[in-house]
């Protein structure tokens, strides 16, 4: 959360009349996101208010082109005036989305409907201490896509593949990119382009991408796991992304699953990361004598597993290792739904099912339900949509 300064004001604001309108408008738009094209009457039923209230909220948005009124639908069996579905306009104000990776930056202009209207990728100078150059490259990339906007964008979301301080909108640390460490990227971009800028950790952006445009659409509690060289995650609890103070939560890779176990990159022993990342997989693949073990991925492993029993065993063990952490999350939070991103997601449905089966075996029965493991969409697209989702969540999900 970049633009708002870190307030230590411990106040619990009351609800004012002004904020009620904003909040309700946000909720109606949320409903439109979650339900797709929906008539005013159905929105009224869904939100439990009078139809006239929906009209009052929606009409200005239709008038200024934010919402589109579709053609009257043929009435349902019972007769009656045909409903006119409302949809989010693909040409309404777009959202800027930035993904900061180790060696490059990707920017996009995203419509409210989840379409990528423009895109830009460029190299990012991250070695040495050239923070200014990095900021300039990111800003230039962002400006390139914002120039394609026909209406002034709502804001900009930035997903960073490293540790961030969401309160300050600054980067704490990005592996192998020392130029970015400590960089207050959010405020820098905000003052450069004159728009609100929200900055967050990459897995949390993925979560919001899934929440608004992916398999988490309309779901109030679920988790995202990102696997690969590292292991990270994010949590949606009760309709809100759980960040923790300054965005400290979600460091799932460095929870202990094997006290005093293998040494982790972080210097401690037995982190989940030590048994559920590509590093572990490649070492075990080499031990098992699998071909090209040093560059194996879950996708390759799954292909090998079709004919090589050793690969199939390794695949199953890896699925179980991933399931261990999911089981811990399930026992702790009972999020029930877990969306895979990164390397593990490219193992496809069978691999997700294998993880799910292990996770279910690892938690006891409870009336609250069982864990379900599903695939997230394409990572690159999901990250950009997620960066846009940062802005959507900020604009639409008032805590009131």
């Amino acid at each position: 959360m970049a633009t708002s300064p870190p307030t230590d004001m411990p106040t619990r604001p009351l609800i004012s009349a002004a904020v009620v309108g904003r909040a309700n408008r946000g909720r109606v738009l949320q409903a439109l996101f979650d339900l797709g094209p929906t008539s005013r009457a159905e929105l009224a039923r869904y939100t439990g208010v009078n139809r006239s209230t929906i009209t009052a909220i929606v009409q200005p948005l239709v008038d200024n082109g934010f919402l589109l009124e579709g053609a009257p639908l043929p009435a349902g069996g019972a007769g009656g005036k045909p409903a006119r579905p409302l949809t989010l306009s693909p040409t309404a104000s777009p959202i800027g989305a930035v993904q900061v990776l180790q060696g490059r930056v990707r920017s996009a202009l995203v419509s409210m409907t989840g379409d990528i209207l423009a895109q830009d990728t460029r190299r990012l100078p991250v070695t040495g201490r050239r923070a200014r150059e990095a900021t300039d490259a990111i800003g230039a990339s962002l400006e390139a896509v914002l120039a394609a906007a026909k209406r002034p964008p709502f804001g900009v979301g930035v997903a960073v593949g490293g540790m961030v301080d969401t309160d300050r909108g600054s980067i704490v640390e990005v592996n192998l990119a020392p130029a970015l460490d400590g960089l207050a990227l959010g405020p820098a971009l905000a003052s450069r382009i004159g728009l609100p800028v929200l900055l967050d950790h990459h897995p949390r952006a993925l979560l919001l991408g899934d929440r608004w445009f992916g398999p988490g659409r309309g779901i109030s509690t679920f988790a995202v796991l990102y696997t690969g060289e590292v292991l990270g995650g994010a949590l949606m609890l009760g309709g809100h992304l759980h960040r923790g103070p300054a965005g400290a939560g979600g460091e799932l890779g460095h929870t202990f699953v094997q006290v005093d176990g293998e040494l982790c990159r972080c210097g401690r022993r037995g982190c989940w990361e030590t048994i559920a990342t590509l590093d572990w997989l490649r070492r075990r693949a080499a031990e098992a004598g699998l071909p090209d073990a040093a560059r194996i991925s879950t996708a390759k492993l799954c292909r090998l597993a079709a004919k090589d029993p050793a690969a199939a065993r390794l695949r199953d063990t890896y699925a179980r290792n991933l399931a261990v952490g999911i089981a811990n999350l399930q026992q702790t939070l009972a999020a029930n739904r877990y969306v895979l991103h990164g390397d593990a997601a490219r193992g496809g449905e069978p691999f997700a099912t294998a993880i799910q089966q292990h996770a279910r075996d690892l938690v006891p029965e409870h009336p609250g339900g069982r864990p379900t493991v599903v695939l997230g969409g394409d990572d690159d697209r999901a990250a950009l949509l997620g960066a846009a989702g940062l802005v959507l969540s900020d604009q639409l999900q008032f805590t009131v």
Copy 2:
């Protein structure tokens, strides 16, 4: 035609004028809980509203005796009309609190100020399949304390030392009390006494007791750990108790910290419970040759540790074992504050500090803060206050 939405999202109702009043009244009362005696002007500053708004909210509550207006305080150095502090009235409507244990039931009448006005303890027939007798005993105990109420109570909270289904208000399973398994205690009590009844898991009641009357007062994010024969916990995240669907969350004792480790009571291997309960402590105490090892507690261990190096080492290892799970919570949720209850709490401040030190050693630095381990109050009292807290949270914390 009015199809239910294809999501698990409980149709987000919009905010109406009526609910705003209720919610704001709740927030003002929360502020009074959290701040103690507070003048109208200070409440206005704290909640960010106009003083006249506070007057409008507070005046009816003063008139009907729910709030008390104290004597004018001597004005602060700068002059001005002296403030008249408002306090919750100890004689306002009380709350019924019930704690269901394996062999007995305790009931109490709790004032809004956290005083226990009346109390009742009786044996609970829990063997065999005599659900009716158990319900009768609980109901009779509750009625005994409710009879002491001078005004009609707000409701009744029930804390159960076992697995519960909070949605149904029913008990899923209580160890060694088969008569209670599956019992819909909430509805049964509600129809018997004609008051709303809220039922929840024991650690979650402790959490709410701490939130309203203990070390969690006014803190929006913290966790409670209960240790002893079993290991359980509860989470306050962003001002709301996280229950999970049907109350499935918080099963911290059965998260894995040692994959394929020691066999746990639950049938799986390497649960946190296997290294952080009295069972582990007593076996290790026996191995170390400590006196009366089979009945040792953390409190006894801490006393022994003063002169026996072996006891001191065991004490340190036990503190680290507890810290492992705290570190995992910290990495996952960054709750920052951890309140101890049960056996470990009776190890006193030095033991809490030892756990805290280990927990800090086990998590990396982050601007979001470091874990803090503090002692909860007396368990028996905290559980009853926590049962009352179930009602307070229900009445005062509208999600709007």
